[in-house]
């Protein structure tokens, strides 16, 4: 019996010493990792040698809990040690190696991490690697992008862009910012005009008269043809020898699923035209031309399509567009005041109009001046992606994903990561497996509860006694 007690005491002594050694080793490794940087540190901490170390730590922790009365007899101490075990085990389960083990043991195949590139109107299940080019595989469900937009802290900025004196050139333009306030007229240097902001809309859309006519411009190798945007309008081109027919006109095109496109009621926020291009061999190709670009990026058979917008006649607040508009009044000494509205366009950080055209012939001092509405790019408040998840043909979840508010579905978290910086036509979400997360979170709770209780309970006693003593 004595021998057994001595052995247990010896084992506890060894465990105590081992705990100090493991803690010391982890401190040193952490500092080394800090010098290595996140990429190399991750590799080091997931290397086979480290995996052995983590296993050893787990074994040590379990042994310590089982053999040390100081730990298993005190709930707080037990909680913090079990919490630590759960955190390490959960983290290992959620690691790449852990996922491989899960696949081998349970046949559960999940991506540890990855990226999804989701374009407007293109439901996708594809997961890419960090280069966004190499596909890693597919999810058993699909995500589609209903809308992507950027929110800023302040309103968009008004700038004056003045051309340099002399012949027309792209360089040497001077930008000045206008400090605007509704109702205040600002004189514009270089002209006799003043600009007054009548109204700023955080989110608005243009309104068109009932009979407004938009056009589609077909540019075939330099030859331009205009087609009215009316269902049934048709024209035959020579080179290439195709017939272009307008199938449908949309006021707010919205893609619901693959091949399911609707015209959203009550909104003019996404005007578009659907064309049918009939080839010489009889094949028919479909093209969708948005006011903001083309939906189909690829082979257009030698024709460049462009939507020529109708001139809007008004502006109305519309919370669904997430695009601001600013109503201005341009006043000149000769002539009536001219109302102008600048509408921000999806995918573009700037919109504007020409205040004064260049006319070197009549007055060399008069330079070309543009008025621009600029997104305050330095002051972003949020990047938001309106996402719908569909599985087995049914819509399951509809959420707006933004930084600090990921979507949780199907064993994964989806995070707002990046977006199409050129035209805002797609969003990039990063995905992360949730394996092992519950163990880690429970471990956090137990660890914190245990540390607080075991550390602060004796102090509370001290404080209480001191208070009474005085």
């Amino acid at each position: 019996m004595r021998g057994f007690v001595d052995n247990v005491t010896r084992l506890r002594f060894i465990l105590g010493f081992a705990s100090l050694a493991i803690i010391a080793a982890l401190i040193v490794l952490s500092i080394v990792g800090a010098f290595l940087g996140p990429v190399d540190a991750k590799v080091m901490f997931n290397s086979p040698a480290m995996v052995a170390f983590w296993m050893l730590s787990l074994v040590g922790l379990i042994a310590a809990v089982a053999l040390t009365p100081k730990i298993y007899r005190r709930p707080a101490s037990l909680a913090m040690h079990i919490g630590t075990i759960l955190i390490v085990a959960g983290a290992m389960w959620g690691s790449q190696a852990g996922h491989r083990v899960a696949e081998r043991l349970f046949g559960v195949s999940k991506f540890t991490a990855g990226y999804m590139v989701i374009g407007y109107g293109e439901p996708t299940s594809v997961v890419y690697d960090s280069t966004l080019r190499q596909a890693k595989g597919q999810l058993p469900f699909a995500l589609r992008l209903n809308d992507f937009w950027i929110e800023y802290y302040g309103p968009w900025e008004l700038w004056i862009d003045t051309a340099p004196p002399g012949p027309a050139t792209d360089e040497g333009w001077v930008q000045t910012r206008i400090d605007w306030q509704p109702g205040r007229a600002v004189a514009i240097a270089g002209t006799d005009a003043t600009i007054e902001v009548k109204h700023y809309y955080d989110s608005a859309r243009p309104t068109y008269p009932q009979d407004a006519k938009a056009l589609v411009e077909l540019d075939a190798g330099g030859t331009k043809t205009l087609l009215p945007a009316k269902a049934g309008a048709e024209t035959k081109l020579v080179n290439p020898a195709v017939t272009v027919t307008v199938r449908r006109v949309y006021r707010h095109l919205s893609v619901q699923a693959k091949d399911v496109i609707i015209d959203r009621e009550g909104s003019d926020a996404n005007p578009a035209v659907e064309l049918a291009v009939t080839m010489p061999d009889g094949k028919v190709k479909r093209h969708i031309i948005l006011e903001t670009g083309n939906m189909h990026v690829g082979d257009d058979d030698g024709i460049a399509f462009k939507y020529i917008a109708q001139a809007p006649t008004g502006v109305v607040a519309d919370a669904s567009t997430h695009l601001p508009a600013i109503e201005l009044l341009v006043r000149r000494p000769n002539g009536p005041p001219r109302p102008v509205t600048i509408f921000a366009r999806r995918g573009q950080n700037v919109a504007g109009f020409v205040l004064q055209a260049a006319s070197p012939a009549s007055n060399p001092a008069e330079r070309e001046i543009h008025v621009l509405l600029f997104a305050p790019a330095r002051d972003v408040k949020a990047y938001k992606s309106d996402i719908t998840v569909s599985q087995d043909g049914q819509d399951r979840v509809h959420r707006v994903v933004e930084v600090n508010d990921p979507l949780h579905y199907g064993g994964y978290h989806f995070y707002q990561d990046s977006y199409d910086q050129k035209a805002q036509q797609y969003t990039v979400l990063s995905i992360s497996s949730d394996s092992g997360l519950w163990a880690v979170y429970s471990g956090f709770v137990l660890l914190c509860a245990g540390v607080f209780w075991s550390s602060w309970a004796p102090l509370a006693g001290l404080v209480w006694r001191r208070r009474d003593g005085h």
Partner: protein
């Protein structure tokens, strides 16, 4: 180095001056005046803190200027608690440390008000940073006690005065749960904002190292008690150095690239 000709700048400089006088009072063994000046300076600094909150529209915990200001502000209340109930001593050292913390606030760190970028717009932002700042202030107090212990004298019968060792231990017990909570909140927040609850970035690893040093200290003390007070004290001081490195070096030094580097 630049002088801040703003209201906050002036309040910070006023606090520094008052604390300087407070340190002089403590060193001249006038504890009463020392306490009045330490407390008075803290009240003025708290005014600057509130002013900053109103100015930027969110809790002032976003950049180094705000964080160090917050840290300096917590020193006196924590000193009051630790000296009254946990046996902490060395008020001069504490007010001087608080003063030193304010030097970069007053002269180095840029104080341009910034909106919170998307990554910081979470309810976890304030708890994670605030809990860490309070725990750092507490552990700095513990380091002062540890330092005092290293200079402890032996009495007539040769026994080492262990009161500093004891108070250091108690103060670490006060601070470690907050350090743990800060680490856990940070990890939880990382999962929400950065896709994974651990990114192995330098700030995380230094904060883990700091945490483990104090955990190691408590394990050591659990095994050997106060048998080796110098070892205990040195361990606490190593922890303090790790905390300072976590806070300062990683935020500023370009060689430590990582997810936390937006803080500059």
């Amino acid at each position: 180095m630049a002088i801040k000709y703003t209201i906050i700048g002036l309040l910070v400089y006023a606090t520094m001056l008052i604390w300087l006088l407070g340190a002089a009072a403590y060193l001249a063994r006038n504890a009463r005046w020392g306490n009045v000046l330490f407390a008075g300076g803290t009240v003025i600094l708290a005014g600057a803190w509130v002013f900053r909150w109103v100015e930027v529209g969110h809790a002032p915990l976003q950049n180094m200027f705000e964080i160090m200001l917050t840290l300096a502000m917590t020193m006196y209340p924590l000193w009051l608690f630790c000296s009254r109930y946990l046996g902490a001593r060395g008020p001069a050292a504490n007010v001087i440390i608080a003063l030193v913390l304010l030097v970069p606030v007053g002269f180095v760190f840029p104080a341009e008000p910034q909106h919170l970028p998307p990554a910081l717009r979470s309810w976890l932002f304030v708890p994670h940073v605030a809990v860490y700042m309070i725990s750092y202030a507490i552990l700095i107090l513990a380091c002062v006690q540890a330092g005092l212990q290293l200079f402890a004298r032996r009495d007539a019968s040769g026994r080492l005065d262990v009161s500093a060792e004891q108070s250091a231990h108690r103060i670490v017990l006060l601070g470690l749960p907050l350090l743990t909570l800060g680490l856990v909140l940070g990890s939880w927040w990382a999962k929400i904002v950065w896709t994974d609850f651990w990114a192995w970035d330098p700030k995380e690893l230094w904060s883990l190292a700091s945490f483990l040093v104090f955990v190691g200290y408590l394990h050591l003390r659990s095994l050997y008690g106060a048998k080796y007070p110098r070892v205990n004290s040195i361990l606490i001081l190593i922890g303090g150095v790790c905390v300072i490195l976590t806070m300062i070096w990683v935020n500023l030094d370009r060689i430590f690239k990582g997810a936390h580097s937006y803080a500059s």
